[in-house]
Amino acid sequence: MKVRPHVSIALLLALAAAVAAPGAAPSATAGEAQIAVAANFTAPMKRITALFEQDTGHSVRTSYGATGKFYAQIRNGAPFEALLAADQKRPERLEAEGVGVPGSRFTYAIGSLVLWSAKPGLVENDPSLLRTGNFNKLSVANPKLAPYGEAAMQTLSALRLRQALEPRLVMGENIAQTFQFVDTGNADLGFVALSQVMQDGRIAKGSGWIVPGDLHAPIRQDAVMLHRGRDNPAVIELIAYLQSEKAQAVIRDFGYQTE
């Protein structure tokens, strides 16, 4: 097939325009913060970012993913200016290794775990379904990588079901994938973050059992500022904003506890 010349020229021009298109021009006062955020905190972070951008005029670029992956990327020069981790271990290590700003660590949220199914009515408000075994697969986040996965395994141990259910486990690489396995129906059940299924203070769809906090170690999620962002006003203000009552209220709305 032959491409007519004027078509190919138009295509070329379009390509050139796309390549040359300038990004948003930075204004004198508004800055930009580049933040790595644990996958479980995606929904509240989106709301908080919108509020923050409205209130301060700064803009925030967020990447959502597994805390362990972010840690490895940050250690290898990723351009993040702060990390909102899913645990305390990674921020502590970053600080100890001189990548995190000393004294900038704080707990921004305490996570809750929920046994959840996309099917309404499948999960009663208790762990009985786990005992009957009336489900195909149980999706958990990889306990080696994700604190919610670790908490899920601790819960199974506390219920004395760990050995029995081990063959039914499928593992998500992070809590977002764990949720997605359940949400698409490929796994009947999963231990996910309450924030993933909570809307306006209740479980928005499917059915779930909020795991009592005494069945697993608390999921304390720490944030740490990274050296790259220490002189960036947008980062400094965002870190402060996260600790404000306004942001903390949003965080609680999504089923987290705050300090």
């Binding site: 992956k69 499928v170 129906g185």
Partner: protein, 225 residues
Amino acid sequence: MFLSDADLEAIALTLRLATITTLILFVVGTPIAWWLSRTRSRWKGPVGAVVALPLVLPPSVLGFYLLVTMGPNGPVGWLTQTLGIGLLPFSFWGLVIGSVFYSLPFMVQPVQNAFEAMGERPLEVAATLRASPLDRFFTVALPLAAPGFVTAGILTFAHTVGEFGVVLMIGGNIPGETRVASVQIYDYVEALEYGNAHRLAAVLLVFSFLVLLALYSWRPHPRKV
């Protein structure tokens, strides 16, 4: 021991996945390659494009479609459940199906090229000797295309060993079932166990190099017909 038991299990699983995928693709890919090399149908273009899609599509797209179609609300998931097989995601055979799609062009294209390169002449000669079409295919076309099959087999095998994104999306990371070597390495890196990651990564690196070295050093003897 240089590698842990879990690593050896992951390697064994990877080799099993690659072997089965390659064998299936020999069977599935050969008729497609033959048809593509001989047809004058207007469907040749579209079919060729579909076969080549996995070369271009990100594994995340393929993994996403597989997860949704093989899930309980997808057509394939409905079929497998109706047949009593259950659901394919998170199972070894689910990975096999994903790999068959993912590696399809690596089988079809070299074989198709080999079929096209032999031309019509040998088959016509065989026909004048009263060889039936099936006979011509098995005793003339296949042996002539043998170098193409070797290339296709090696590439398909190696490409399946190197598969990662699709497995990550539909595998569920189950030891001995879906946790292949590439995923095992990813886990090590994420868990900050760089020593373990290095060891297994080195094994894959050496393996891949040797396979490609064999492929590029190997020269078929030119055959005259």
